[in-house]
Amino acid sequence: MGFDQYHEPAAELPDETRTFARLCASLTEEAEAIGWYEQRMAVEPDREARAIMRDAQGEEFKHFSMDLEFLLRRSPLWREIGEGILFTDGDIVEHGEEAEEEATEDEASRGAPLSGGESLGIGGLRGGAS
């Protein structure tokens, strides 16, 4: 078991940065798992086994999406750039460049730091209600 999601000494990091780093590590692991299942399904000849892998990959899609949503809620700048890219049609690179430029200009114009944020990071809560 390792603690290598921390690039800096963990004891020097605030709690929220450690949580953020843990979720970043989790996001990476889910993305890796999605890729692994994709490869396994590509070479697996047994249809039933492929169906199980497809089901398992669906779980990883869910985990990845939840991790991503958490991180976007905690990082307003990331969220703003993501909103310009995710779930859009057209040229992804073009959208990316535009979203980054607009978001960082907005942040700079209000004198805000380009990462982090001081809000409680609550955001929208739909989907989490009982």
Binding site: P14, I122, G124, A129
Partner: protein, 266 residues
């Protein structure tokens, strides 16, 4: 440094972590509106108005000129002040687990109630129309007989379907109604809560600040919460005994589809 001026407060990083975490814990269960309406943002403290895409005529335009002025919905700043004893913050830094953050908890409740009330019942001075007041459907009286609640909620869902508003549907329950629903089992012991959930197909949420209850479509695109600065804790002042802080957010709310909700009056 942001306008929250947190760096000026005599509060350690661990202390800020405690305050933020306690506020998040108290606010999340109470922020009912955010569990049912579309949430956009946060767009930052300098964000001042929501675009409505509409204009109004400027009557005194120069000869030969036609002029219109854009209509916008101004962002409202809501702030709930509170204080924390410096001795409690010092104890927290020593590792105390039972730190008294009572005023923060009260402030969290106040701002959550204000947010819910603005969304569901409106806030005239802030230019916000509430869902229960704006709906085009006649209100359905709930009464106190819980056995009849499924019928009332089913009537509300039928009214929404009748005008082409698709589900799933959610239900914001004022605290009194929520308590009654939780306490009630129908014939055969089936919890009323579960019965209502089956009718709605969506969430039931505890909604402090709501009078009675409101059934809304949670299909999206009907009710639009626009966040400037999301809920944050800022610093106001301090003396030898206490630190004066506040919970703050900036927001607007507008309704795109008034017919997508039905009010259930107490």
């Amino acid at each position: 440094m942001s306008h929250l001026l947190r760096e000026y407060a005599p509060i350690t990083e661990a202390g800020w972590g405690l305050l933020d975490s306690d506020a998040r814990e108290r606010l999340t269960p109470a922020l009912a509106a955010r569990k049912l309406v579309d949430f956009a943002g946060p767009r930052g403290w300098s964000y001042s108005a929501t675009n409505l895409g509409r204009t109004e005529l400027v009557s005194d335009a120069p000869d030969g000129i036609e002029a219109t002025r854009r209509r916008v919905l101004p962002i409202v700043e809501a702030r709930a002040p509170f204080s924390v004893a410096r001795s409690e913050l010092a104890d927290a830094d020593r590792g105390a687990e039972d730190v008294d953050l009572g005023e923060l908890d009260d402030a969290a409740q106040r701002i959550a109630v204000a947010e819910n009330a603005a969304v569901f019942h409106g806030w005239d001075g802030a230019g916000i129309a509430g869902i229960a007041e704006a709906t085009t459907h006649d209100p359905i009286p709930l009464g106190e007989d819980c056995e009849r609640y499924p019928r009332h909620v089913a009537m509300a869902v039928d009214a929404l379907r009748g005008v082409g508003i698709d589900g799933p549907y959610g239900l914001a329950l004022g605290p009194d109604v929520h308590t009654r629903v939780l306490e009630t089992s129908q014939h055969g012991g089936y919890p009323l809560l579960e019965h209502l959930r089956e009718i709605l197909g969506g969430p039931l949420v505890w909604a402090p600040g709501v009078e009675g209850a409101v059934v809304v479509s949670v299909g999206g695109g009907h009710f639009l919460f626009d966040s400037g600065e999301d809920l944050s804790i800022g610093y106001a002042s301090h003396d030898a005994d206490a630190v004066q802080l506040y919970l703050e957010e900036s927001l607007s709310f507008r309704i795109a589809t008034p017919e997508a909700a039905v009010a259930l009056t107490p």
